[in-house]
Symmetry: C2
Subunit: 385 residues, 2 copies
Amino acid sequence: MSVTGPAGFRAAGVAAGIKSGGALDLALVVNDGPASTAAGVFTTNRVKAAPVLWSQQVLQERRLRAVVLNSGGANACTGPEGFQDTHATAEKVADVLGAGAIDVAVCSTGLIGERLPMDAVLSGVETAAKALDGTEQAASDAANAVLTTDTRAKQALATGDGWSVGGFAKGAGMLAPNMATMLSVLTTDAVIGGDDLERALREASRVTFGRLDVDGGTSTNDTVLVLASGASGVEVSAEDLTAVLTEVCTDLVRQLQADSEGATKAVDITVRGALSEDDAVHIGRTIAEDNLVKTALFGSDPNWGRIAMALGRSGVDIEADKVEIAANGVTLFAAGTRARDRSEADLSGRDIEIVVDLHLGEHQATILTTDLSHGYVEENSAYSS
Amino acid sequence: MSVTGPAGFRAAGVAAGIKSGGALDLALVVNDGPASTAAGVFTTNRVKAAPVLWSQQVLQERRLRAVVLNSGGANACTGPEGFQDTHATAEKVADVLGAGAIDVAVCSTGLIGERLPMDAVLSGVETAAKALDGTEQAASDAANAVLTTDTRAKQALATGDGWSVGGFAKGAGMLAPNMATMLSVLTTDAVIGGDDLERALREASRVTFGRLDVDGGTSTNDTVLVLASGASGVEVSAEDLTAVLTEVCTDLVRQLQADSEGATKAVDITVRGALSEDDAVHIGRTIAEDNLVKTALFGSDPNWGRIAMALGRSGVDIEADKVEIAANGVTLFAAGTRARDRSEADLSGRDIEIVVDLHLGEHQATILTTDLSHGYVEENSAYSS
């Protein structure tokens, strides 16, 4: 159960023919109200896909009736024609729902630089509208229709007191910093104002999607949307909503980490004792993106020298003699030199925890990442995606 | 012919037993004068190896009689004991040459976090001192003794009017931004003051070693040293020296690029039309370090969408609609959309040229990089280095 878990939502996922081979490739999530409050966070990439430009614009009203999503094409770097395609898609959804295009957000994912097959998209919208349903199966179909190189759907649900938050997400590569980093649609039946909804979404995204860094690649299409139907009749505070949203987003981001391209390890990098949270995040990301660290982890090698190298080049001022580096609970580096022999740290399992303590301040952050494997190279060199 | 090409220099490379298996692992380069002017540029990494801390200190005098270099161990993250090892090595070289330790620079390369076998190092210094010679073979032995995962020695020589510059370099992984990024020793018989020598080295390094970015990994040990003997008797200006030094460094950096770990492609990324050279360098590096770009290049795939993604996430302000992206002479992206079909760009050869024109200003820079191959993953996951 995900987006149809909260009351007031229907969903559908259909095979529109955008992808070859008859895979599900078009999803629709509809908010039946009574409220139609919404908020979104979008990629920080300067090159923004047409659907991002469109959705940012319509979200200014903090209101959405529906979201339409497609896989099989990112509709990025497609010029004014690509933007017209997004607009036409929103118009079509509005038509079949009896709404205005301004109440419809659009998300796309897939190869950059190719126009979408609009005949398939527009007829897919009609098919999806007929398939709309509040069932678990409908939500699952929608979650499956947005997948690209993902191997499985990512869905989550968490409950408050008389209300709930559900959501799905996709993303297996080009996964990196700054909020979004993929597509995700979240729903809630809580009663909440637009400003509070936006604040809750920003905060929940910042510490969840914003802490996943697989390959440094912030995509042109990254989007996280939340739709609030108010159907539970329960008014919630921004704080309560933030907590439950964060629970759902954490669940989704763990699923994204586990299923990212070629990953054989799920690696948590915690940077402690930093002068600020920003410092901790920046150092954690530098380590997470370092190919020498990532290949060592693929080899189950506690090569802490590479971690020391990466943290030293992050640009954050550190005192090398104060730093401690631990892997799976074994402190390998302390007081400027080797603490215990690295053979004592066992990294042979799937889950790896790296803790770097700077011993400078009180702040910390954890970045979720993966190793760099032959599978990643294979998947990203042998196929265009 | 490399470091012994200019008059006034002798070199040696010996098997000291630091590495197992009897490979060359200790090099000595000696300046016989009459002058002993010197300058150095060092890693910007906050975690600096003991030999870097030592050499930075002795170079404050702008004078060097000799450089001793070892492979088989980086002597980084080895605490005060590691610094004492470096000091003892410099003292030993000073003893055998009849000089002061303050006139001896030390460079080390290899695994981080392990102490050096000092018996082997100190007896190796004695062996090397006896082998010192001004021949081409001696220079070649020295160039070979500093190699780690390199598959071949990198040497270069260029001549001015009655004077010359020679040099060798090593480095196959952990190769990235900011001047040094590996070990290199350069020699010249030009007559030049210490300030001018330093200025010439900084400028030459900035546009050569500073533009190579294989994996973003700025090592703890990166060092470039230049020694000037004055033995030609020819006074040269800083400008003339910069030009010839740049020629030698360009030659060396091309050799580093060609031999870097697992590389199947030599990729030049030129960013044009930038508002500043810094912007061009920063965008070029972001593209060069992007794993999705690098894996596409490994697959000979002109996937310009990934280049557009990477340049959009660099943090530099760009106007997406003005950007042009070309691969091997074929413009693939222009005016915000696809220009020509990517099948028209042939990236199947070893050399690939990517040109990104921002159409915002007059500045440009070229970053040298490689692809990300199975070989890179294999070399960096299967062995500790």
